[in-house]
């Protein structure tokens, strides 16, 4: 899609617009031939107003001076024509994500595009906002625009698309009608039916290890990301946290680890309050932590494999004393862990950034499991990891549980949570909606993830009835082309 919009150049092949081949050297060319794009990461200047963002690059002006009134009028006109109400003078950074996306759409529409590319537009939206967006797309279709809608979510394409193209690993693997059954689409997307099973015995839960009560945590924007969570994880069990990404899981885990202050509530580890402890103290108290984004939080890419294997142990004997590091001990540890965890690396001195994703993740897991653990927290432990490494990492997690550690697994892959967990907590908008058994029917879990508690009778109209049809992030995306 970036090629189509001129941000990247094709290595081969050609692009036809209305039957004629075109060469798109930049976004300017794309706009000229009538292609507009709403990026997954919004291309809006946060400190500019709505009108300024929309007119940018095509400013109405007299002799270089901007005609602000005309720009405002244009915004009003377009937003009215397509039923997308906007305040032209609002500043972007003050607007909620859904409205920012609306600005992006209006920005494309003011440029008179015929084809609108929407790249994963719903990833950042709440279900309500998603439904509004689908409605907008229908309206645009009715107004004669073509739309390429890229998404992972089956429900959405089926709801809005006229034609569906499935792309996997850079190739078109098939097309389908929206009336095709979901299973057929899923098959196309995944390529094979994924059965994720982790061999494990029934859990023998012991004493509570991690106790969270009434925890409130703010996100970077000072919004209430974790909103009064109560949880208990016992020794010898895996508690899985399921939920659509961005429902407070990240902040919850960071708060436990002392990386983000708790605004209210408490966290106890084996009965000791650790709410205000520094990360180092939490780690030393016997907590292992596999962070959700390994390249940002888990590894120092420029450091060697050996150095990364002691990233949070370097100050402990035998690796480090008060002042010096014992490089021999660090190397010995590296040799041992590389063998034990089957890390595929040329040498312990290779920079970790040169390893594949799966091997990078194994470095983190190896490091976190190299001290005796009371509690293991694993966030998205297998994201972006090859199948072989997934199985390996899963088995190590279960082994920790069987050794008697309490394990908290956070994953947005429902399959992973269900496969690993002994109990599943579903998080939605900063709260734990329910703690259920992993045997709970998929539909029920899906409803919970969408914020609907099937056990209560209240049913919000307009909320999607089915949850995420998520499929392991296997690198596929459908194109629903809504052609009129």
């Amino acid at each position: 899609m970036n090629v189509l919009y001129g941000l990247l150049q094709p290595d081969s092949g050609e692009i036809l617009v209305d039957g004629a081949p075109v060469r798109i050297k930049g976004p300017g060319d794309a706009i000229k031939v009538g292609i507009g794009m709403v990026h997954q990461h919004f291309m809006l200047v946060p400190v500019f107003s709505v009108a300024e963002n929309i007119m940018l690059g095509a400013e109405p002006a007299h002799g270089g001076f901007i005609d602000h009134g005309k720009a405002v009028k244009l915004v009003r006109e377009v937003s009215q024509r397509y039923g997308l109400p906007l305040n032209p003078d609002a500043i972007i950074e003050d607007l909620p994500i859904g409205i920012q996306q609306r600005v992006e759409i209006v920005k494309a529409l003011t440029r008179d595009v015929d084809l609108l590319i929407l790249d994963e537009p719903t990833a950042v939206l709440t279900p309500q906002e998603t439904d509004e967006l689908l409605e907008v797309m229908r309206g645009l279709k009715a107004a004669g625009k073509s739309i390429v809608f890229i998404t992972h979510k089956l429900r959405e394409v089926k709801a809005v698309a006229d034609r569906i193209t499935v792309i996997r690993r850079g190739r078109t693997v098939g097309t389908a009608e929206p009336t095709a059954p979901e299973s057929e689409l899923a098959e196309l997307m995944v390529g094979r039916s994924v059965v994720l099973e982790v061999p494990k015995e029934a859990a023998v839960p012991g004493e509570p290890v991690l106790e969270i009560a009434g925890l409130v945590v703010a996100d970077d924007r000072e919004h209430r990301a974790v909103d009064g969570v109560d949880l208990v994880v016992r020794a010898g069990e895996v508690l899985g946290i399921a939920g659509v990404q961005g429902n407070g899981q990240t902040e919850l885990v960071e708060s436990i680890m002392g990386l983000r202050p708790a605004r209210a509530g408490s966290v106890h580890l084996s009965g000791k309050p650790i709410t205000t402890w520094h990360t180092r103290e939490v780690l030393r108290a016997g907590v292992g932590y596999v962070p959700e984004d390994r390249s940002v939080d888990g590894l120092v890419k420029e450091f060697s494999v050996a150095e990364n294997l002691v990233l949070d142990l370097y100050d402990l004997p035998p690796f480090g004393g008060r002042f010096a590091l014992d490089l021999d001990a660090i190397e010995a540890q590296a040799e041992q862990k590389i063998a034990e965890f089957d890390v595929r690396t040329q040498s312990p001195h290779q920079p970790v950034g040169a390893l594949s994703g799966g091997n990078q993740q194994k470095v983190i897991v190896a490091r976190e499991m190299s001290t005796p653990l009371k509690l293991l927290i694993a966030s998205q432990p297998t994201r972006g990891v090859d199948v072989g490494s997934i199985e390996f990492i899963h088995s190590r997690i279960v082994a920790e549980r069987d050794r008697g550690a309490a394990v908290l697994v956070v994953s947005s892959e429902l399959d992973e949570v269900v496969a690993l967990a002994d109990r599943v907590a579903v998080m939605y908008r900063g709260r734990v909606l329910a703690v259920v058994s992993p045997d709970t029917p998929r539909e029920t879990l899906g409803l919970l993830m969408a914020g609907i508690d099937p056990s209560s009778s209240s049913h919000t109209p307009g909320t999607p009835a089915s949850g995420e049809q998520d499929t392991q992030g296997e690198g596929m995306s459908e194109h629903g082309e809504a052609a009129s």
């Binding site: 976004p27 291309m43 270089g64 709440t126 509004e132 996100d219 000072e222 919004h223 990301a225």
Partner: protein
């Protein structure tokens, strides 16, 4: 529209000690200090504030002790108001600082062994004169950084401007051509900055620092080799003439400062106005700011990010280079090596203090210029306050500003980040 939970503000009550209240408390302390200490130290002699450019002429008298106490109380009251209400931060802080300064002046002037008179017109003129190079320098900074290129080479641009102005002003015998050459000189140095920062993606602070050394060495070398052996032929540009505006120049206090000017003083005012309008009212300005804040967004709507950055860095060089000529064609006649002596860094401070806004940078420059003028005045009346500490004030103020102690400043989001497509 629907609002998700994620967008609901966290219901954490705002702390009582806001920045305004903290500042209010500090102002109260300053007010107390002024009232008690300055009041006690001041003598009963009158402190006379003359309106004109010299000590004679109309003016008004303030008895030393009473004035010190009175204006100390003004500072105290403003601080207290700020502490209690937590509102009107700018106005109240300004009043408190003014009160403090006047109180200090009443004390100093009343006990001075030399003179009890402060010629306000002279102070105003000195303030503006000291501010002129800072205004041009900080405008150069604003132009550059608004488009996302960090400019720590202001010092070098001013120096190059001063050198080119003196050299070509002498060679051509025309100060107009000298001024033109000064601007071009600044732009040449800017061009190096642009190429290294934009094309070769070298860290922009690194380039800036190195360019300062480069410009300093180069101008000093040619000064030693060419100018010093034959001053008349290469380093005698003459002084730019002054153009008083009849009538307006007689306005008390500000008249001599604003309307007895020259190409630099009028030019600085015009530059501030033009750049402000251009940045905030024109297509170029909108695009410049977009490129400085979110270059990818600008790129996706077809704006040539790098081209705009090149243009802005070059214009910044023109402006700063022109301002540099002030040193060799107005404040003294002729170039001498390292004559800018840190003004470029104060200009950088003024740009930050002015929050990357031309008008803000203008007032910050005036603020810094005022302390320069005050330092001169207090030295002239043999004040015991060490002039070095007064000269430090701009730098201390800037540290306070960047540390968020008096309201946080925010740089353009993409400032210093090279833009690479894809």
């Amino acid at each position: 529209m629907t609002t998700s939970t994620m967008d609901v503000e966290l219901a954490v009550p705002e702390a009582y000690w806001t920045r305004a209240r903290k500042t209010g408390a500090v102002m109260i302390v300053l007010g107390l200090l002024a009232t008690i200490l300055f009041g006690a130290l001041a003598s009963s002699e009158n402190a006379r504030f003359a309106l004109g450019e010299n000590v004679s002429g109309a003016g008004f008298d303030i008895p030393g002790t009473a004035g010190a106490i009175l204006f100390g109380l003004v500072a105290l009251a403003a601080g207290a108001a700020l502490l209690v209400t937590g509102k009107h931060f700018g106005v109240l802080t300004g009043v408190a600082l003014m009160g403090f300064i006047i109180s200090a002046l009443c004390w100093q002037m009343s006990v001075s062994p030399v003179s009890h008179i402060m010629p306000l017109g002279f102070i105003a003129a000195a303030t503006f004169t000291a501010a002129i190079p800072l205004i041009f320098g900080s405008l150069g900074g604003v132009l550059c950084e608004r488009s996302g290129v960090v400019n720590v080479a202001i010092e070098g641009q001013l120096l190059t401007g001063a050198f080119f102005g003196a050299l070509f002003g002498t060679l051509t015998g025309s100060f107009w051509l000298g001024l033109l050459a000064a601007a071009i000189g600044g732009a040449l140095l800017s061009a190096i900055l642009a190429v290294f920062a934009i094309k070769y993606l070298v860290d922009q602070v690194v380039v800036g620092i190195v360019l300062n050394v480069f410009a300093g060495g180069l101008t000093a070398f040619f000064y030693e080799q060419v100018m010093r052996p034959d001053t008349d032929a290469y380093n005698f540009p003459g002084k730019v003439p002054s153009w008083p505006i009849p009538g307006l120049v007689d306005i008390p206090i500000i008249g001599p400062a604003l309307f007895n000017g020259n190409i630099f003083s009028y030019g600085s005012l015009i530059a501030v106005a033009v750049i402000t309008i251009a940045l905030f009212r024109t297509r170029w300005g909108l695009r410049t700011r977009a490129v400085g804040e979110h270059p990818a967004a600008a790129d996706t709507v077809g704006i040539r990010v790098l081209g705009l950055r090149y243009a802005n860095v070059l214009i910044a060089g023109l402006v700063a280079g022109f301002g540099g000529a002030y040193f060799s064609m107005l404040s003294t006649t002729g170039f001498s090596k390292y004559m800018v002596s840190g003004a470029g860094f104060i200009a950088l401070a003024a740009m930050i203090f002015g929050r990357w806004h031309p008008v803000g940078a203008f007032f910050a420059s005036l603020f810094f210029g005022f302390f320069g003028a005050l330092t001169g005045f207090l030295t002239s009346i043999s004040s015991p306050i060490p002039s070095q500490f007064l000269s430090m004030l701009p730098y201390v103020a800037t540290i306070f500003a960047v540390a968020g102690l008096v309201g946080r400043v925010r740089a353009p989001a993409a400032d210093g980040k090279p833009y690479v497509k894809g």
